[in-house]
Symmetry: C2
Subunit: 521 residues, 2 copies
């Protein structure tokens, strides 16, 4: 970030840059206030004359495919996180780039994981200029310490689709690691040793990238079905020995939480939904994959059984418990964005009512509506919440980048958004006067549930009215904050350097906040 | 067609215009000779802020939806032929347009049928300026007699996708008649009283049209699954009483031919494939829906059973006989573009190995390959073939537009293309010195099979070699032509006016031929 570049205060009161990595950006204008103009990006027109007559797009190695795709300095290279911490492909791409002496690449992952920490050396030696995507663990610390050459750009899953669709970012080469594929490039995530469920995070890349490479360790005869990625978008197919570490891709089993605090949060959340009249025949819900969220599913399950009702659909992250609900008829459909365990993978493969979705269908804000807004209640996490219900998911209170946004921003458009959070973590209050980073505007966050009380957003007088006579501990958010501070003390404000190390985009592509370099403690 | 507009002779020797309906067009340059430049069309960027928060896009009537979509003079309106001769929606659109006094519309159907003949009155009164799509029956005669204001543009199914994708035609309003849909616009063709199988012909329109209207008579709660059309592309949903006449959409049963001539053609074709070594384990084929093609499927079936082999896939048009092959394990997958009977619909709905495809996956020449080229043998019809193996499917020898191109041009890219045709029809020879209209270049047409002999294209020395010692009556195409003329006499050349009434596009968007006004006999 050039120091001379202009900062402005955006509609939510955050000082953000107007240019990022040399490109003009739009500061956040308020929820629903930014109307896009212009047309979607059009991929370069291809022709069958430039592809093999017999449909066989196999090349001998990832290196060969990257060379054929024209890998060169400054390109934007995309990868995807459906292998989570078991991905072996992204690192190999940049090993090859470094070997070829290519510099200043932009890495555009749908998310990064701890397994990508070895890419720090390429951020240091200039192979990678910067990352557009979440930065966790060591990568997050590296960026937070101001060591990355460019400015990181954090987007939600829906925002990533939007950015690609709208041409805000143009992918030169997309590398799609696929658990199963055919020589034509049709690919899926439900079969093969690295089965991960679905490849939805790579959809935008297949549709809009200039060159698309599918890498698989399970090549099947044409046609590979289902074709979650359509070969008609694919330039090259590479067969390798291993694309991922199965046990790090999906866990064999999913554990619900044993923590009494988390169980309490889950129970309070489920009860809140019941009192609020959300749990009814044909309702819909989405909960994350953490232990608390899993437990909420179990409570919902019990409530539905007791009432003799069923949910119309659940949006996933799917896991054994959600699959059980589907199989027991407690939920009619799973609209799944990511499978978290082998039960999820198997169910998506075999049950036509367990459907793979994509950031386009579920989350794209620059579509003609999306699924997230149809969900009756969504239960999400947060690292911090402020007294105006604004919330943070990307940094902790020490200011270090630690999490991606995932679908979190997109999910806020559900009819009711609940954040069950502990009142404090490691004696650091979660509810604060101001969050370190705003990822979601408070007006979209309806309920904060802590083990010591529930705060309902004053904008939701309907919910306040419904919960008036419940047995649940309804408080104001200020009361919750005070209670935390009574126990932990008023937190000391983290100091930051002026240097902007990353920006957080809102679902419409505008800049909602900037993340600054952390000062050494 | 303005008389002053320039004509040129294209690479296949036909005199074609360089401008059509006021737009510059590219004359055919030869197979694989036209490399497109530029980028695909980008649909206008939408935003969730302009769509209902709850995802409910229902409006009260087709008329209201057309008004909301901004229907006005000169717009391009698209419809689709998945209801074949049972469509009730296309006529209603133009009834509404006429009622509203809208003029000069371009109708862009994926195909037209006899049931659309009532639109002639709107071609006469200026509601519709011209048709870009096939013109059959009375519509074909109307156009052929030079009565349409604009010039008709005939495209293959793949060419239609290509034209929309490349922005050669920009659809203002797409109206997608859907046997089942939800309020969000997700839609499919496998359920509901008007079930037709699939909605692939409408895919391009959903992706690229400015406004998309889904019309259904079977509204189901969200989510409508499978979502062959994705609601994220849809602006409005209309519920009406009836969208189609089921018995005209799909026939309850499919009949194989009882004509001895056609059975002979089918048997000769199947035998040819056997001698040519095409029928082997894992092979693939596509045959049309006519009686001859159906019978070929039966011969293939018997051959596979006898040999203990199976086909890897069949491309459809599906019907009872193909579904039987799938169920008996004689073919592993049906990759279907159009279901022709209720067995096809049911199989597509219930059998995951019976997969719906689209003109994008199967036929788009401006993609990174397509399925058609992967097919080992395709069996197609033709109205005429010339001594250079060029063939015609859109006009008969009297010059009148009578058929659409369908997927015919796209299928020519299969590894072996066979046209089984009678040597003459109504005493008019099918093999001629010159076809009335060139739809497919002879270099892509490998074999002509008639009841009196088989001609192999001299370009296919490999096939000539293989069939050398077969018992089949291998002749030259000239011999076949001579034999027909010995029986029927040399056909009198049809006379045409100079006026161009329609053009035929090749799969790459270039003009392969022009169709001229017929002179009164």
């Amino acid at each position: 970030m050039n120091k001379e570049e202009k900062l402005v205060v955006n509609a939510i009161g955050r000082k953000v840059p107007t240019r990022v990595n040399g490109e003009t950006v739009v500061p956040f204008k308020g929820v629903g206030q930014h109307r896009p103009i212009g047309n979607k990006f059009g991929q370069r027109i291809s022709s069958c004359i430039d592809f093999p007559n017999d449909g066989n797009k196999l090349v001998s190695s990832l290196k060969e495919s990257l060379i054929k795709a024209g890998l060169k300095d400054g390109m934007t290279i995309s990868t995807h996180h459906h292998f989570r911490n078991g991905d072996l492909v992204a690192n190999e791409i940049f090993d090859i780039a470094a070997e070829l002496g290519v510099k200043n690449l932009i890495w555009f992952p749908s998310a990064s994981f701890e397994c990508h920490s070895s890419l720090i050396k390429y951020l240091e030696d200039g192979t990678i200029h910067h990352i557009e995507g979440s930065m966790n663990g060591q990568l997050g610390r590296f960026a937070s310490e101001g060591k990355m050459k460019g400015v990181g750009v954090l987007r939600s899953h829906g925002g990533r689709y939007q950015a690609v669709q709208d041409g805000e970012i143009q992918i030169d080469i997309a590398v799609i690691a696929a658990p199963t594929a055919d020589f034509f490039g049709n690919a899926n995530g439900v079969d093969g040793p690295a089965a991960c469920g679905l490849l939805g995070f790579a959809l935008a890349d297949s549709q809009y990238a200039d060159k698309v490479i599918v890498v698989t360790d399970n090549l099947v005869p044409f046609p590979c079905l289902p074709w979650q990625i359509q070969g008609n978008y694919v330039d090259y197919v590479v067969k390798v020995d291993t694309i991922g570490i199965p046990e790090k891709i999906v866990s064999g089993t999913t554990e619900i939480t044993k923590s009494p605090d988390r169980l309490l949060l889950a129970e309070m959340t489920a009860k809140f939904c019941e009192y609020a009249g959300i749990i009814k025949d044909g309702f819909s819900f989405q909960a994350g994959a953490g232990g608390t969220a899993l437990s909420i599913g179990i409570y919902f399950s019990e409530m539905l059984k007791k009432k003799g009702m069923k949910a119309r659909f659940a949006r996933g992250g799917s896991n054994k418990y959600l699959v059980d609900m589907l199989n027991e008829g407690l939920v009619e459909y799973i609209l799944d964005g990511q499978t978290f365990d082998l039960d999820g993978v198997k169910s998506m493969r075999d049950n036509p009512k367990h459907v793979n979705t994509s950031p386009f269908t579920s989350y794209n804000y620059h579509g003609k509506g999306n699924f997230a807004q149809l969900v009756d209640v969504v239960i999400l996490g947060a690292t911090e919440v402020d007294v105006n219900f604004n919330a943070n998911v990307v940094t902790h209170s020490d200011g270090v980048l630690l999490h991606g946004i995932g679908g979190w921003q997109n999910c806020l458009f559900a009819k009711c958004t609940i954040l069950p959070v502990p009142l404090f973590r490691d004696r650091i209050p979660v509810i604060r006067d101001e969050v370190t980073t705003i990822c979601g505007p408070g007006e979209l966050i309806d309920v904060i549930i802590t083990e010591r009380g529930i705060a309902i957003n004053p904008l939701r007088q309907d919910l306040i009215e419904k919960l008036k006579n419940s047995s649940l501990p309804i408080r104001t958010i200020q009361e919750l904050k005070n209670e935390a501070e009574k126990i932990c003390g008023v937190p000391i404000k983290q100091k930051f350097d002026d240097k902007i190390v990353a920006v957080v985009k809102w679902v419409d592509g505008t800049i909602i906040d900037a993340i600054r370099k952390v000062c050494p403690q």
